[in-house]
């Protein structure tokens, strides 16, 4: 143990502890900006670049960055001496001097760490004004890059390269001109970007934000000629409350449904319904491939990979196109919902698909891109018209003066609002495969599951595996969340080393609960755990917890689709993938 003094208080810490952490242990919160520590996910960014966390260490010539300086025996640290306060203020003033002054209308206003810092440090003037670095703005289907606001914290670079291994973003140029950007400063939609949105989640300023669809939604809701229906993804209900000051992990399913109805949606549905549908299709596909494989059909490849996550789909299309026949062909729940809504449901209410607006509320920004994919359109009309994020929904509720906390719980509408516990857990890592196992087990063995909960599939480890006994048939399952972890499993498959029958992959750390469209967690990963807990809680509360027992799903097959993997189901609920290796073009 090492003993040191911080602001006249003695503190004892383990060797290797930083000054920042040691100070935190005794309740001293040294401000930071570039520093990021997503502890539970093992992600740390401490380039020591912003210099906001500098402290004075006796005997040291310069100020030391608290985030990157290890404690040493006998160290005497001052975190708020006049020298430190002046330096810290000056550094923030310098950063502000190269930052647009449009705080009032910035998408990040109120959620901006730089704004908070300026406020906290009582900055009332920017004495060092001069040239500001400017770059071209880039709008993609999901993410907007306004890098005039980039402060070179490099968090996005860490997420994109080290965590997701997508490699779209890098620091470019040198000195005053340096900024984080894609190669050749090309647009994101020309790059291998998966739109996972993890860069957006960690950006401290408004340099990276999602494309905002709320205005379009407001207009559509006001249009009497349109029928507007909404679907909400499972992870949204476990996080939306945070935007209204509720404890992380508070489930707001009922309030959310009530708020959506107040906003004026004609029908309030649930993506969970489509998640159950997904299990029917994907589970059947798994069993089909599995039995063929067991019967020695060499044309069938295993493992089967889940395909619900659009960022993951785009990832393998760019990075592993040679393996594009391995993932399940099942569309994501969002797209299954859209396809059914604009056929089955549109017929039911007798509305032309062009007059029916399908909106999704997603914890995700890649879903915005997914809606725009051509294969999910009929004569140019998309199955899902557009998707808005959890954050955008919260903003909309606030705009509409809805007292969210005071709302009475409401139910979803039918037929597409009914769901099982299996579909709710789609929102967390491990959930999709657990839901699939629940159904596949019973379909395959024709026996009832002795226990619905598969604890062995749950958790926060980046890569997990478990073997499930299908009544004598051991099924080996792999789970990865975060694309870097997914890459490892894919490399194994490519090398012929993979032992799995099925693998679940979600692009975002934690799964959809940590999606790129969720309320900002500002580095507090305990929030992800709370959301995960809430998801499992909702599952446990449900009376029906297996997808194949969803009455409305059963009815859908009876009335419309026939059976899973039928020709109609194939046409509406399955998809195909593209080789995007050569799609990156330089302009």
């Amino acid at each position: 143990m090492i003993k040191l003094i911080i602001d006249k208080k003695t503190v004892e810490v383990e060797k290797g502890t930083t000054i920042l952490q040691a100070a935190k242990n005794i309740g001293i919160h040294i401000p930071t900006l570039c520093y990021m520590n997503l502890g539970d996910l093992n992600i740390e960014n401490k380039p020591g670049g912003c210099r906001v966390c500098v402290v004075e260490v006796d005997g040291r010539r310069n100020l030391a960055p608290a985030c990157a300086t290890d404690c040493a025996e006998g160290m005497v640290v001052h975190t708020h001496s006049i020298r430190v306060l002046n330096a810290r203020k000056t550094v923030v003033q310098l950063i502000l001097s190269d930052h647009p002054f449009d705080c009032l209308i910035c998408a990040k206003s109120g959620n901006c760490e730089l704004q908070d810092l300026a406020h906290k440090l009582g900055i009332r003037e920017i004495p060092y004004q001069g040239e500001q670095s400017t770059y071209r703005e880039d709008t993609s289907p999901a993410i907007i890059r306004d890098v005039d606001k980039c402060i070179m914290c490099r968090r996005c670079e860490v997420m994109c390269n080290e965590v997701q291994t997508v490699g779209v973003l890098s620091a470019i140029n040198r000195g005053f001109q340096s900024v984080v950007a894609p190669a050749f400063e090309m647009n994101l939609d020309h790059s291998v970007c998966t739109y996972c949105g993890q860069c957006v989640n960690v950006c401290p300023t408004g340099a990276l934000t999602e494309v905002d669809h709320t205005n379009q939604l407001i207009n559509d809701l006001a249009d009497p000629g349109k029928t507007v229906i909404v679907q909400t993804a499972p992870a949204v209900r476990a996080a939306l409350g945070e935007e209204f000051g509720m404890e992380p992990g508070t489930l707001v399913t009922g309030k959310m449904a009530a708020a959506l109805r107040e906003l004026g949606f004609d029908y309030v549905f649930d993506t969970d319904f489509a998640a159950d549908l997904t299990i029917m299709e994907e589970g059947t596909e798994l069993l089909d491939r599995l039995s063929k494989h067991l019967n020695g059909d060499t044309n069938v490849h295993l493992p089967i990979l889940t395909s619900c996550c659009p960022a993951w789909v785009k990832f393998f299309e760019h990075q592993f196109p040679e393996m594009k026949d391995i993932p399940s062909t099942a569309r994501s729940p969002q797209q299954m919902f859209g396809a059914i809504a604009k056929t089955y449901f549109a017929d039911k209410i007798n509305v032309d698909r062009k007059k029916l607006v399908v909106v999704s509320i997603m914890p995700c920004v890649a879903k915005k891109y997914e809606c725009s994919r051509d294969e999910f359109k009929v004569d140019g009309n998309p199955d899902v018209d557009y998707s808005i994020s959890t954050r955008e929904l919260a903003n909309l509720i606030k705009q509409a003066n809805i007292d969210f906390l005071g709302l009475e719980d409401a139910d979803f509408d039918n037929p597409m609002g009914e769901s099982t516990g299996a579909s709710v857990i789609f929102g967390t890592t491990g959930g999709v495969i657990e839901a699939a196992v629940r159904t596949a087990y019973e379909v395959h063995t024709q026996k009832e599951l002795p226990k619905v909960d598969f604890e062995e599939l749950r958790g926060m480890e980046g890569i997990r595996s478990a073997t499930i006994d299908f009544d004598g048939l051991p099924i080996s399952i792999g789970i990865a969340h975060g694309l870097g972890n997914a890459r490892k499993l894919l490399e194994d498959i490519k090398a012929g080393k993979s032992q799995y029958h099925a693998i679940e992959i979600m692009a975002c750390p934690g799964g959809c609960i940590g999606g790129g469209g969720q309320p900002y967690i500002h580095g507090d990963t305990s929030i992800l755990k709370a959301r995960q807990k809430a998801i499992y809680q909702e599952d446990a509360q449900k009376t029906i917890r297996k997808s194949h027992e969803n009455k409305y799903v059963q009815k859908l097959y009876e009335e419309f689709l026939g059976k899973p993997m039928s020709e109609k189901a194939h046409h509406l609920l399955h998809t195909h993938y593209f080789d995007r290796k050569k799609e990156v073009f330089i302009d």
């Binding site: 973003l169 890098s170 140029n173 190669a183 400063e185």
Partner: protein, 162 residues
């Protein structure tokens, strides 16, 4: 953004592959590879960087990040006769700036540009280590020392014919 579009020929791609291979396709040798490739093509257009990225298994963004970090690497083709003005301290105090102005005026281009006919390009460099000859100008491989603004016309005239 690169304004120059180049279509690489098969043999160009093969050449880049060969260079990468000579460094065992090791990502750690990126800078050595870029030196060699630039030596081959004279500059590093986007398409060339793409081939390097693929062979070394390094993201294109990282390569672009490296190319734009080091002043030695360029994405703009040099002129047939690249003119470099040393702006090291010794040359600076002996009037390099005036010489530079004269070159800009004579060639009608800014630093980092090439003349429309591709004959000359103009760059500044920091100290070639020939401070005894300050101010120093290099045209291609040839070094000119103790240059006054008046000498600029004559230097350029040497390259009139080719």
């Amino acid at each position: 953004m690169s304004s120059i579009k180049v279509k690489l020929k098969e043999k160009d791609i093969a050449k880049i592959q060969e260079i990468c291979k000579s460094f065992d396709n090791k990502p750690g040798d990126l800078i050595n590879v870029l030196h060699k490739v630039q030596g081959e093509f004279g500059y590093l257009p986007a398409e060339v960087q793409e081939v390097v990225a693929e062979n070394l298994n390094v993201s294109l963004a990282k390569i672009y990040g490296v190319v734009t970090f080091y002043s030695f690497f360029t994405m703009i083709p040099k002129g047939k006769h690249p003119v470099s003005i040393c702006t090291g301290t010794a040359c600076y105090v002996r009037g390099a700036e005036k010489v530079l102005e004269e070159f800009k005026k004579e060639l009608g281009i800014k630093v980092g540009e090439s003349t429309p006919d591709g004959k000359f390009s103009l760059t500044c460099l920091r100290c070639v280590g020939a401070c005894g000859l300050a101010p120093v100008v290099q045209v291609g491989e040839k070094t000119y020392g103790r240059i006054a603004p008046d000498d600029v016309k004559n230097i350029l005239a040497e390259y009139e014919d080719n």
